[in-house]
């Protein structure tokens, strides 16, 4: 198995063959004093039903509240597939089978009953607040603020695999949205002329901006041209749009493009009706994409942390249409080499009527910013959380990341 360092050298040479090596490739590698860390944020848009993603099967109330939707406890063998036991209290939705291996390898952690103090049940407002990292206020993105401003960093430092730059990555740090590599395919000949004009321009400021832009463009274009072979037999093909997005993130990271923050999203979680069928579909893609990414990155996962989130959860009880309505508390997955996995974090509030938020939803016992701030400071190394999550008072750390060992 190629060690990461050898692979990097190889990739640089491969790029030299295809055209000029991005001049910041060296810069990017040199800038990371040790090894570059990457934080990948995945947003499940539509309010994912956490209670059916990770099933609190030891709670009798769960089955009382969800007579139709409840997923059978591990071990039951009448009817639909049972959940996959994790720790005797929580179990995975069977469709998330690929996560079991990650759990066993202690690369997967779950934080239960996470969410925002803001009571909004509007998808758009709640998403905006979560992406801003400031419940109640919409502004630029927490992940952009998490990256310290440096001069001359890689133009691909912050990438979003979506059509428009999501709020999460908006801000002062340059970030780029890559939905479809085709959008970077300007007529080849024109691009060459324009690039030459930028390079030759006596205007130094624009020449420099152009240089960065074109090498970033070429890097992105090469993603589609070269036949990418995921390592370890990883299968992105079954994993829909999210699979495609994460594959491109993997490619960029492996090509040492300097990615420190990446964002991907997956919609289709708003299950007001017919939840079992709809949920299975989207959850399968979700699990397949993330596990393919982990498999593909292999040893590279040592430097990567993935975190998932959704704007809020769903009602504890099912509604009359085989679905659930907008709720409050939800859960977050945290994956990666540096993660202290194989554990469910957070204080489980229970599902009794008095324990539910407004008598209907899972309560929030861990602010989503608690999770994110631990990852930003512990993994990316950013110190000043007051800039990243202004107004947030951190509670006692959850301990999601392993203590830093020597490199």
């Amino acid at each position: 198995m190629l060690t990461r360092r050898i692979f990097l050298r190889g990739s640089a040479i491969a790029m030299a063959g295809a055209g000029s090596v991005p001049f910041w490739l060296g810069r990017a590698a040199a800038a990371a004093g040790g090894r570059r860390k990457t934080l990948v944020a995945i947003f499940q848009r539509g309010a994912a039903d956490g209670l059916n993603v990770v099933v609190p099967f030891s709670e009798k109330r769960y089955y009382e509240l969800r007579p139709t939707l409840g997923i059978p406890a591990p071990g039951s063998n009448n009817g639909p597939q049972p959940a996959i036991d994790l720790d005797g209290k929580f179990a995975l939705n069977p469709v998330l089978q690929p996560f079991k291996a990650l759990w066993d390898k202690q690369m997967l952690a779950i934080v239960e009953a996470t969410g925002s103090p803001d009571p909004s049940r509007s998808h758009f407002d709640a998403q905006d607040y979560m992406e801003s990292g400031t419940p109640g206020m919409k502004r630029d993105g927490w992940l952009n603020r998490a990256l310290p401003l440096v001069a001359g960093g890689s133009p691909l430092r912050a990438v979003a695999m979506s059509a428009n730059l999501p709020r999460t990555l908006q801000g002062d740090c340059p970030a780029i949205a890559i939905n479809d590599v085709k959008q970077f395919q300007t007529s080849q000949d024109n691009a060459a002329i324009i690039e030459h004009m930028y390079a030759a321009s006596p205007d130094k400021q624009l020449a420099s901006a152009g240089k960065d832009a074109f090498s970033a463009m070429r890097m992105i274009q090469s993603l589609s041209r070269t036949q990418y072979n995921p390592a370890g037999g990883a299968q992105y093909g079954q994993a829909g749009e999210l699979g495609r997005a994460l594959q491109q993130v993997a490619q960029l990271i492996k090509a040492d493009a300097g990615v420190e923050a990446a964002f991907a999203e997956i919609g289709g979680w708003d299950h007001h009706q017919n939840e079992p069928v709809a949920m299975n579909n989207v959850l399968r893609q979700f699990g397949a994409a993330i596990s393919a990414f982990c498999r593909d990155m292999g040893d590279g996962m040592e430097d990567i942390v993935l975190v998932t989130m959704s704007e809020f959860g769903r009602t504890a009880a099912e509604n009359g249409n085989n679905g659930t309505d907008h709720g409050h508390g939800d859960l977050m997955f945290v994956l990666g080499g540096p993660v202290r996995g194989g554990k469910v974090y957070g204080k489980w509030p229970g599902l009794d009527h008095e324990q539910l938020y407004e008598g209907r939803d899972l309560a929030v016992t861990t602010d989503f910013r608690q999770v994110l701030s631990e990852l930003v400071s512990g993994h990316l190394g950013t110190r000043d959380m007051s800039q990243v999550f202004p107004g947030f008072q951190p509670a006692a750390p959850l301990g999601l990341l392993k203590t830093e060992a020597s490199l």
Binding site: S122, K138, R139, D140, P155, N164, L165, P174, A175, I176, A177, Q183, F184, T186, S187, D189, N190, A191, A192, I193, I194, H196, M197, Y198, A200, S201, P202, D203, Q205, L206, A207, A209, G210, D212, A213, A216, M217, Q273, A317, E318, N319, G320, N321, H353, G359, R360
Partner: protein
């Protein structure tokens, strides 16, 4: 002694110029006469059009600048009036906008149709919601079947959790209710598959603009309206009429902002009063308000039209006051709900109780608010961003004092006719000290007016505003001496913006090499300049609005009160460079419906000629060489060359 000083001077001189001196020299180096004309066009307009240079050569650049400084003397372009005509919301006041786009269209909102208050009068409602399980069951069972179904479908599911016989019925009832609702939805908002056959649907989704146009022409008006309503706005680019029709039936609340954005592009491209439009853009950004903050969307049209534009060449204090009074700013920076600590609201402004659903969703309608104390937001931004600047010399105490002065400056009848009102019972009537000025107790509304007066006349304001204007019109890093001179003019003329601009536009720094082509075009400026340079005919500016947004400057869409930054670095990200290339390519390849270029003008012209037409100056030799080398005998249509030039680094400068 003199010899010594002279010698010392010589030593200093001999060491050679420092980098600062180099830059300073640039601002002293003059431009030639054609450069002066182009400089004036680049800075006072949204880009030179064919023929503009000649026109100015005839009357002289000083005279032309003077004309632009007096827009009331310039006859407006009838083409502009024609383009703006369909955008009717731009002419409405806030009350009319509310009525037309927010209340009028209740029909568009699917009514749930179940009013529990009529189905479960008085005590019955109490028994169902707050009674024991037995009371609940008895009450519901006692209802007639029709009512029972409606009630069971609407009450929260957990109420019948423990009543098995009702629970089953409730599940059925909810299912039926959902189905009825969806059927009604389908009827009111038919999907494409309900309206068109497979072939037609394919054309609408994937056909060429011509094919789509033909299909639209073949449908009867009623059908066309429904089809339009079922399509996303992008699919109707180039068909402003259909798009407005669709929006009116589907989401009318989006129209006022959509109109504002499209109007802004039309004005930038077609207005004869170019400087006035440039200044409106500048001052709106200075006094930024974000369209996405709730109800600001309703009042933004009036804000730009009534508070900003009329004052851009008047007195700064008048502009400041108009902004301070306007509901848009009062709401955006929260001053409307700022009140003296310990006071409470009574009378017509009492906040609605939480949980009352207004027609715009949320508690109590578009301006719903809860009792608050003092809100410092406006007090701070008024000094930090609007007048003195962050280093202007105010303290936290001043911020609090200013906020106290403005308590009571709020919005009246927000849900029908949002306008300024001074509410005495919200006002902090105690004595305050602002920047060393004592403001006597009992001043009421006058407190705020006095603060405006103090700030408008503060030396830091003169400097801050002058620096901002110099940065916008001269260079990212304007010479301090110029800023000082402008500040002196500001103070001497009591904040007369026309006088300050006159001083700016006649300064040697404005017409210097240091200023020449030194600014990077913002997305709006780049798009408008491209269209003007191409002399394109724009029948629908929707796509242009999209492109400006894609390049990173969504119009009216900057959330922070700081507005968009005004320097090269802001607009030179990788994404921005690529988006500009993409735009240039789209425009010349007919991929921006609604924007039509007459290429016959460019026929038989070589790259040098086309560059000269579009840039109004010559490309540097390196650029021309790059084009020639790249073309190298290959396809060299005017369109292709134009795309390259509009994407060039030179075109990004002005």
């Amino acid at each position: 002694m003199l010899r010594f000083l002279l010698a010392a001077g010589a030593v200093v001189a001999a060491h050679g110029a420092s980098p600062g001196d180099e830059t300073a020299k640039q601002f002293e180096a003059k431009l030639d006469s054609d450069q002066r004309i182009l400089q004036a066009l680049d800075r006072l307009t949204f880009g030179a059009r064919p023929g503009d240079m000649d026109e100015i050569r005839k009357i002289g650049v000083e005279k032309w600048i003077d004309q632009q400084l007096h827009p009331e003397r310039i006859a407006e372009n009838p083409v502009l009036d024609a383009k703006l005509k369909p955008l009717e919301s731009t002419r409405m006041d806030s009350a009319a906008i509310l009525k037309q786009y927010y209340q009028q269209n209740r029909a568009g909102i699917i009514r749930v149709g179940v009013n529990l208050n009529t189905l479960l009068p008085g005590d019955q409602s109490r028994k169902v919601f707050n009674g024991t399980i037995e009371e609940r069951r008895a009450t519901i069972m006692a209802l007639d079947p029709e009512t029972r179904i409606k009630v069971l479908a609407t009450i929260p599911p957990n109420l019948v959790e423990c009543i098995p016989e009702l629970q089953k019925e409730a599940v059925e009832a909810r299912k039926k209710e959902m189905e009825t609702r969806q059927a009604e939805l389908r009827k009111q908002r038919p999907q494409l598959r309900d309206l068109l056959d497979g072939q037609q649907a394919l054309i609408v989704r994937m056909g060429t603009p011509a094919e789509r146009a033909a299909l639209f022409a073949s449908l009867d008006p009623e059908k066309l309206k429904q089809v339009a309503a079922a399509l996303p706005p992008d699919a109707l680019a180039g068909r402003a009429d259909l798009r407005r029709m669709a929006a009116a039936s589907r989401n009318p609340q989006q129209l006022p902002i959509a109109d504002l954005r499209e109007a802004k592009l039309y004005r930038a491209i077609y207005s004869n009063r170019q400087l006035e439009e440039v200044l409106t853009d500048f001052w709106f950004n200075h006094f930024n308000v974000f369209e996405g903050k709730g109800a600001d969307r309703i009042v933004l049209t009036s804000y730009e039209r009534d508070a900003i534009r009329p004052h851009v060449l008047g007195k700064f204090q008048d502009l400041l006051l108009a902004v301070a009074h306007h509901p848009a700013m009062l709401y955006y920076l929260d001053n409307w709900e700022s009140m003296a600590t310990g006071s409470f609201e009574v009378g017509p402004f009492a906040p609605q109780p939480p949980g009352v659903m207004g027609f715009v969703g949320g508690r109590g309608g578009p301006f719903a608010r809860l009792p608050h104390g003092l809100n410092e937001n406006y007090g701070r931004e008024l000094m930090e961003l609007h007048t003195m600047g962050v280093n202007g010399g105010y303290t936290q105490q001043d911020v609090i004092a200013v906020a106290r002065c403005f308590t009571g400056w709020t919005i009246k009848t927000p849900a029908e006719k949002p306008e300024f009102v001074f509410a005495p019972f919200m006002h902090d009537n105690d004595e305050k000290t602002v920047l060393g000025h004592k403001i006597a107790a009992g001043g009421g509304e006058h407190d705020g007016l006095e603060v405006i007066d103090i700030l408008a006349h503060h030396p830091s304001t003169a400097r801050f505003i002058s620096a901002k204007l110099a940065r916008y019109f001269v260079a990212d890093d304007p010479p301090p001496e110029l800023v000082e001179r402008l500040a002196r003019t500001f103070t001497k003329t009591d904040g007369d913006l026309r006088a300050v601009l006159t001083a700016l536009f006649t300064s040697r720094e404005f017409f210097s090499q240091g200023a020449w082509q030194s600014k990077v075009r913002t997305p709006l400026q780049m798009v408008a300049a491209s269209v003007r340079a191409l002399d394109a005919d724009v029948t629908d500016s929707f796509m242009l609005v999209q492109k400006v947004s894609e390049m990173g400057e969504p119009l009216y869409g900057k959330e922070a009160p700081t507005g968009y930054k005004d320097n090269a670095a802001t607009w030179l990200s990788t994404a921005s460079v690529m988006a500009r290339m993409e735009f240039a390519s789209a425009v010349v390849n007919g991929k921006t419906p609604g924007v039509n270029v007459d290429w016959s003008r460019f026929e038989h012209k070589d790259p040098t000629a086309i560059a000269s037409v579009l840039l109004h100056r010559s490309l540097p030799k390196e650029g021309l060489d790059a084009i020639q080398a790249g073309l190298n005998g290959g396809e060299d249509t005017p369109a292709r060359i134009a795309a390259v030039i509009l994407s060039s680094p030179e075109f990004q400068r002005r």
